[in-house]
Symmetry: C2
DNA sequence: TTTTGCTTGATTGTGTACAAAATGCTCGCA
DNA sequence: TGCGAGCATTTTGTACACAATCAAGCAAAA
């Protein structure tokens, strides 16, 4: 009981660097730290009440997951995935999440189906506040699916890719419309429940396609800084 | 020119922890450090002439890639993937490497084809010394393919999975027979060259299947301690 | 004989101090 | 007024010292 409370307070962290890691990750995914924000070790450590050593470990981990960039001697900053990065990430997501569905077909218990439906209900409920919470929940649905496969590697990769996708959506994506995500998730659950392999895989493929389109559509409008500059430079003959 | 030389000497490492990371990784994949070997931070640091701080960073990274296990307060040791881990890893490999082939179809230049063939020639040449060098080269073929996709994420994951596969093969695999790997690689290149998508994907799928079989076949002979015990336990009605 | 508690040794977790590197700025010069 | 060299500041890279934690071995009691 006491340990349960402690776990809740400390978020089941055994080490401080874990806590810092999670704090930073949440901050990034909640867009509290916008893409490109510099992340000096000193300031973060001071702010969070830990030494630079701890912050450094957390940053190294985030770097490994592609959420921040860690340029030598130049400091860390929140990653700004290029459109190409985005395409790469979604391509891999499609392959992996198709594997998730393929693995899950015929193995889901009624209880697990209910768990999935409960999650989508939560997504549905969060539709009103059109903020990052909605993106977050939509992403967690995919993570939940991956978790059900009980394949650790698959879970790790999907989790990582979903995180990076959130970052991409916040950078390039047009305003998130949760309606279609919810309905697509429901269709997918139905297909999984009925054991329709081809149908389920196909649904997942198209679902990721839809996300990819939503993510990359706005890409050539305003935020793509380098390319924009390149265009100007060309006009000036540089 | 000078920088090229420096890169060669320092293996393009900017930081020491990178060097230690690569050193340990090579040692593990070469089986100089057998699975399960303990990796105390200060022994390694002393041996390699760096402080524990550096070693710690390298270990954290290897842990992230699943090559070592990092139990809190109990020290690091070379990972001993279970048979289940192995199945998970190969399942994800199959999905990702099929994506590799699918991406590569119709994009490979004659020069790249020659590059692939040159690599397989090297594998062929290394057939005689039936050691880990052969496994290593066979793995690098897959990494090379992933590199040609120019998809960074895909490359990172495939690299990681190939590394872990090497570890698995050294743990459970029956003696590596390079002949079939070489011929399968050659068939794959031919299909890629001719742009036969279905054929190439199918070849890759079966190739990974073959590796999986080779990897897991010996699993119930001697080294699989836990399952072995479980079998005994069942016989005793426990 | 088995189990429990303690002690000891080893190993990791964390903080801090110093060194190295890069960036930005000031000052001198053309 | 524009430009470059050198300095100062900031930030990271590394090492080391100390604290916390755990595993093993030993001893004592049931």
């Amino acid at each position: 009981m006491a340990s349960t409370l402690r776990d809740k307070n400390q978020k089941s962290a055994v080490s401080k660097s874990d806590a810092v890691y999670r704090t930073l990750k949440r901050a990034i995914l909640d867009q509290a730290l916008a893409a490109g924000t510099k992340l000096p070790e000193d300031s973060i450590g001071e702010r969070l009440g830990v030494s630079r050593t701890i912050v450094r470990q957390a940053l190294a981990r985030l770097n490994g997951e592609g959420l921040i960039e860690l340029r030598p001697h130049k400091g860390a900053c929140v990653a700004q995935p290029s459109l190409e990065d985005a395409r790469h990430i979604f391509a891999v997501r499609q392959a992996l999440e198709t594997l998730v569905v393929d693995t899950l077909i015929g193995t889901l218990t009624p209880q697990q189906i209910r768990q999935l439906e409960a999650h989508v209900d939560a997504e549905d409920a969060a539709r009103t506040n059109n903020t990052s919470a909605s993106i977050q929940l939509a992403g967690e649905f995919h993570v939940l699916l991956a978790k059900l496969t009980e394949n650790d590697v698959l879970l790790r990769y999907v989790t990582e890719l979903v995180s990076r996708s959130s970052l991409i959506l916040s950078l390039y994506g047009r305003p998130h419309s949760p309606d279609c995500a919810v309905s697509e998730h429901r269709e997918l659950i139905a297909a999984l429940d009925k054991g329709e392999r081809e149908q389920a895989c196909s649904l997942m493929r198209h679902h990721i396609d839809a996300i990819t389109t939503r993510a990359l559509l706005k890409g050539n409008s305003e935020k793509d800084f380098p390319d924009l500059l390149a265009a100007y430079a060309r006009e000036e003959g540089l």
